[in-house]
Amino acid sequence: MKPANLSLTQIQRADLRERQQRPLEFGLIKRMFTYTRPYAWKRNLLILLTLTRATQLPLLAWAVGTTISGPISHGQSDLLVVGVLVYAGLAFSTDFVFHFRQRYALELGESVMHDLRNELFVHLQRLPMSFYNTTRLGRIISRMTSDIETIRIGVQDVLFVSLVNLGQMVVSAALMLYYDWALFSVILAMAPILWSLNRYFRKRLSRGTRQVQESFSRVTSAIAESVSGIRVTQGFVRQATNLGIFRGLITDHSRNNLDVARTSAKLTPLLELNSQFFIAVLILLGGYRALYVDGVSGIGDLIQFFFLANLFFSPVQTLGNQFNQAMTAMAGAERVFRLLDREPEWQDDPDSENVPNIQGHIEFRQVTFGYDPKRPVLHDVSFVANPGQTIALVGHTGSGKSSIINLISKFYLSTAGEVLIDGRDIRAIAGLSLHRQMGTVQQQNFLFTGTVMENIRFGRPEATDEEVVAAVESLDCLDLIAVLSRGFATVVGERGSGISLGQRQLVCFARAMLADPRILILDEATSSIDTVTEARLQAALEKLLRSRTSFVVAHRLSTIRNADQVLVLDQGRLMERGTHDELLQVGGIYAGLYEQFSQEKNAPV
């Protein structure tokens, strides 16, 4: 028999396999730039500034070259003053333009990103629950952060930096061509070599970088699990084995890092070699021409080239990088736009109405429903809940309890049959107007980062502090909040913030209590709390359920027992219906469940 697997984690990260680059696509580029439309004047001004800068840089070099090869080598002191002044003036204007060119580009990029974020957020909120149930949080966040970031770089850098660099190349090429076409042709011949060198190494670099990212994420997840599982590790004395595994992971990561270093350690010297090679050629060829052909003017050309050539070469590298960036931006933009283009599977009917005063009469008429319409999870369910009643939903995991709740909340629409609220088809009721008269308590007891006060107030944002306190008081649980380190001002949300499970539940109860909804949806938490707190929460729950139509996915026996109706579900079918006592007398599924549920408790003690 083979021994158990010797590793800490086995993680495949789908996110790492997302495409990092994609070829340039006109449609995507165009769409990216439509976001600059509200800032058109800034964008157009930027193009102008960029073009100006593209000529300024070669002119600066030209001014140096001309001053050296002209006045300085010929000893003309009056012309030297002119040359120096021209240079100083050019330098100042270049830096002046540079300020605006940099600032406006950054601002433009940021504005586009800002607008895209808002648009994306609004779009996310429009998407129905089915989207959230099938998409991982990490993906949504990376659309909003890293992918939008690549678009920003695409908008703010790629176009403008490329323009500056291309312009610089063209102007310096023109100047060199003017001085000496033969020397320039040598330079021109070297450009493609430089370009392909750059491309070749960039490709290998990005492949290497991806490997580094992958091995790093293996290292990180190993640490993360070691930290989360530290109790298990120490309890089971696994430290030495884990260390061995970890050592393997970091050695692997270090090897990947060295591979990347090796590639870039080859690239930079090669690029430098290129410029040294050029200088040697320049001296050889320029010297020959100065000595045997052009005489004194030849030396002037030589010096000009010495300064201008660099302006022609360095853009080759920069453009290569920008090209890379552009392809990365394409991949990011494609993902962001794909999310933006994702149409909600359904939306409120255009003629759905606001219903300001819901009574809370709810009826299911032969409702069939499946998250995937081909695989229904609810079959032909019918029942009526009268205003003010408490309905307990009972059944095994997967029996369809949550689906019923989801349909009442209009998070999903039924596949067949009708859900009626106050006799009106739920499809004809505007989702928002329904939700405003509804309250929910989730099983996980979700709290937002913020104070206890803010979390409760979420149920009704216009409520005063007194009303929030009153809501907790009406649940008879003020003392449970008072014991928190800062009472209602205690900040909660992140894990380990010193608020117990019971207190979290209470905050969620109070949130719903404050909203004072006509319809309450409650998915009882399964985690057991100590007996006293548990009993207190039960008492609070009874107060919350009073005087509104409530649907409870019940795990507490007391809740079920007090319900006006118990709906017993099994594999998507409504099997039994009635009060606790009625169902016990029938002696069906519920009676069996109850037996299992409580045999221990009610046994004689």
């Binding site: 158990a4 800490l8 495949q12 050296i68 300085i72 000893g75 240079y87 330098a91 830096d95 940099q102 600032r103 950054l106 601002e107 808002n118 909120q125 959230y132 949080l137 966040i141 909003m144 290292v219 699990e225 930290v227 109790r231 298990v232 120490q234 089971f236 004395v237 696994r238 430290q239 050592r247 270090s254 060295l258 270093a261 090796r262 080859k266 930079t268 010297p269 430098e272 090679f277 010297g287 004194v296 030396i299 010495f306 095994h396 989702g431 929910t440 979420f458 149920g459 057991s528 006293v532 707190t533 009993a535 008492a539 795990h555 469940l593 299992q596 549920f597 221990e600 408790k601 003690v605």
Partner: protein, 625 residues
């Protein structure tokens, strides 16, 4: 349990001590550092030679065609024969430039690889291993007091910041000082007053970079905070989507997001202003140098005090390199800050005391019988705030003890004392009549099987998870343990049976299934003592019976401590220990405790009452004033 504020030591070590310690660490890697430095010195020399040769080339040509210009002096007293044609001299120069460039390229490769090797294969590797090793041996107190994100960061990001001190501060600093000195000497050698005139702006340049980084750094920190806030706002809107939609409060969240998006943008803009002021200013200062060089240097050239190529052109090149290094000072200063922050956080871990460890002359414990005795045990999680007081009871081998009490009564703490997750602060705890602090720690823990409240399973195969405590276990042993834990059946129904990978991409298990795997993991080692810390806490009542059954099998023949609320479990225990705010208020069998008035009876009644009024009455009795 209340969180200890901080168990960290050395929170306020002075920077100076930190720097000394980092220097000492750099000394450990001196061979790599020195190799890198020597390579850099050679590279510097070659670079300067290339530059001066270019100047020489220009001068040679210049003097050939313009008789006014005197022939340049060749370096190292070398003088090519007069007979050589001008073109041969130029060819010689070009050839040497090219040869030097080739050598330089090769050495540059070596240099970069040496740095990479030093950083990735030595410093970071060693540090990560050290920190991880230490981390695994730290007591739970440390993990209670620190968020897991921060702990992870110490092994990843902080280690990287720390090593920056060696390659980014020590090595780069040495290179900077060295090259500044060389450039300066060379420039002074060419022309003293020109050097001084050109460097007049240097202090300003330096001042500007320092001023800028002091202005921008706090802005960037604030920027990071605002960004985190933005992402958190998004993340919570997604995680809490059901709550948001359920209350119809999309608008509230939307406004919140728009607001933090706007705040972030506004702050970004103020940074853009500063950044866009900085680069042109630095650019302009450098260009002023060039103005001085052209004006003053140009005059010197036609006064014959400075050669055109070896003088002016070389000087221009040197000036450029010099300014580059000066601007680098600000970078290095920033790195000092960054690396000190990282170092502090890494050293905090390396210096944290391992609170619980084996004694030097520890007793070996191959197989415990399982007699456990709490002898007047007290435990203070935080000083002066006892978590457990005067706990005194004993358990015979094979017996089971149930521990009952409200949240915060000290149940988990009591159980955690047995495998020495924490050490008792008074009294003693014995196994087979020997103080557990005398045992070899690993031996002690190998004799104890533990199931936690929410069992952590690793994202690995089912088999690897069960064999966690004994990786060499055969498949038969794994299956046997799974059968004991009533887990074999559902495991075989998983897509790949025992080889199914759990977690992110693999199968998801129900709470009950996870706990049964945890029980299997605990019994694989055939421990004499079994600790069950409220294993049904996170499980819905419908599936609870599955675990109860597994627990019954697992407990057979072992001394068992079980934290529990439910009467069903309590009734089966050989002994019940009732805790109230750290004190043992009652002990005995379930029947005995039910017969006497007290906390136990009230708690039990609370679970079985049908009548609401009666419940509220009991609640009033137990509710603390």
């Amino acid at each position: 349990m209340a969180l200890a504020n901080s168990s960290m030591v050395g929170g306020d070590v002075s920077n100076w001590i930190l720097v000394r310690r980092l220097l000492a660490m750099g000394w450990r890697y001196r061979r790599g550092c020195i190799r890198v430095l020597i390579l850099q010195i050679i590279l510097l020399t070659i670079g300067l030679s290339g530059l001066s040769l270019t100047g020489l080339g220009i001068d040679v040509i210049h003097s050939e065609i313009d008789a006014d210009f005197s022939a340049p002096g060749w370096p190292f007293g070398f003088e090519p024969p007069i007979a050589w044609a001008a073109m041969s001299r130029i060819g010689l120069i070009a050839g040497v430039i090219l040869a030097l460039a080739l050598v330089r390229a090769f050495l540059n490769y070596l240099y970069q690889m040496s740095v990479a090797h030093l950083v990735h294969a030595e410093i970071v590797l060693h540090l990560r291993e050290m920190v991880y090793d230490k981390l695994q041996r730290l007591s739970f107190r440390f993990f209670d007091a620190n968020a897991s994100g921060s702990i992870i960061n110490r092994v990843t990001g902080d280690v990287n910041s720390l090593r920056l001190f060696i390659d980014g501060v020590m090595i780069q600093g040495a290179i900077m000082v060295l090259s500044l000195a060389v450039y300066l000497t060379y420039m002074l050698h060419l022309h003293v007053t020109l050097t001084l005139a050109c460097l007049a702006t240097t202090p300003i340049l330096w001042g500007v970079s320092v001023f800028f980084s002091s202005k921008v750094k706090p802005a960037y920190r604030r920027n990071r905070e605002l960004y985190d806030e933005l992402v958190r706002s998004l993340a919570e809107s997604v995680q809490g989507i059901q709550t948001v939609k359920g209350f119809g409060r999309e608008e509230t969240r939307r406004e919140l997001f728009f607001e933090s998006n706007q705040r972030f943008r506004r702050q970004q803009r103020s940074i853009f202003w500063k950044v866009s002021l900085y680069s042109p200013t630095v650019g302009f200062l450098t260009q002023i140098n060039m103005v001085v060089l052209l004006g003053y240097g140009g005059t010197l050239v036609f006064q014959g005090e400075l050669a055109l190529g070896t003088g002016l052109v070389v000087f221009a090149g040197l000036l450029q390199q010099f300014s580059g290094q000066v601007a680098n000072i600000a970078n290095i200063a920033n790195r000092v800050q960054q690396s000190l922050i990282g170092a502090r956080r890494v050293f905090e871990i390396l210096d944290s005391p391992v609170e619980v460890s084996s004694k030097a002359d520890a007793v070996h414990l191959p197989k415990a019988r399982g007699a456990v005795r709490f002898d007047q045990v007290g435990f203070e999680y935080q000083e002066m705030d006892p978590t457990l007081k005067n706990i005194d009871f004993s358990v015979e081998p094979g017996q089971s003890v149930a521990i009952v009490g409200a949240t915060g009564a000290g149940k988990s703490a009591l159980v955690g004392l047995i495998p020495r997750f924490y050490d008792v602060t008074s009294g003693r705890l014995t196994i087979d009549s020997i103080d557990i602090r005398d045992f070899d720690l690993d031996d002690l823990r190998r004799n104890i099987g533990i199931v936690f409240q929410e069992s952590f399973l690793f994202s690995n195969t089912v088999a690897a998870n069960i064999a966690f405590g004994h990786p060499e276990a055969t498949r038969e042993q794994v299956e046997k343990a799974a059968r004991v834990a009533a887990a074999h059946e559902f495991i075989t129904e998983l897509p790949k049976g025992y080889d199914t990978v759990l977690g992110e991409s693999g199968a998801t298990l129900s709470g009950g299934q996870r706990q049964r795997l945890a029980i299997a993991r605990a019994v694989l080692l055939e421990p004499s003592i079994l600790l069950l810390d409220d294993p049904t806490a996170a499980i819905d009542p419908e599936t609870e019976h599955e675990i109860l059954e597994a627990m019954q099998y697992a407990m057979e023949g072992r001394t068992t401590f079980i934290v529990a609320h439910r009467l069903s479990t309590l009734r089966r225990a050989d002994k019940v220990v009732v805790l109230d705010r750290g004190a043992m208020v009652q002990t005995g069998r379930h029947e005995e405790l039910m017969a006497q008035p007290g906390l136990y009876q009230r708690l039990a009644r609370l679970q079985i009452v049908d009548d609401l009024r009666e419940r509220d009455e009991i609640l009033r009795e137990v509710r603390p004033e």
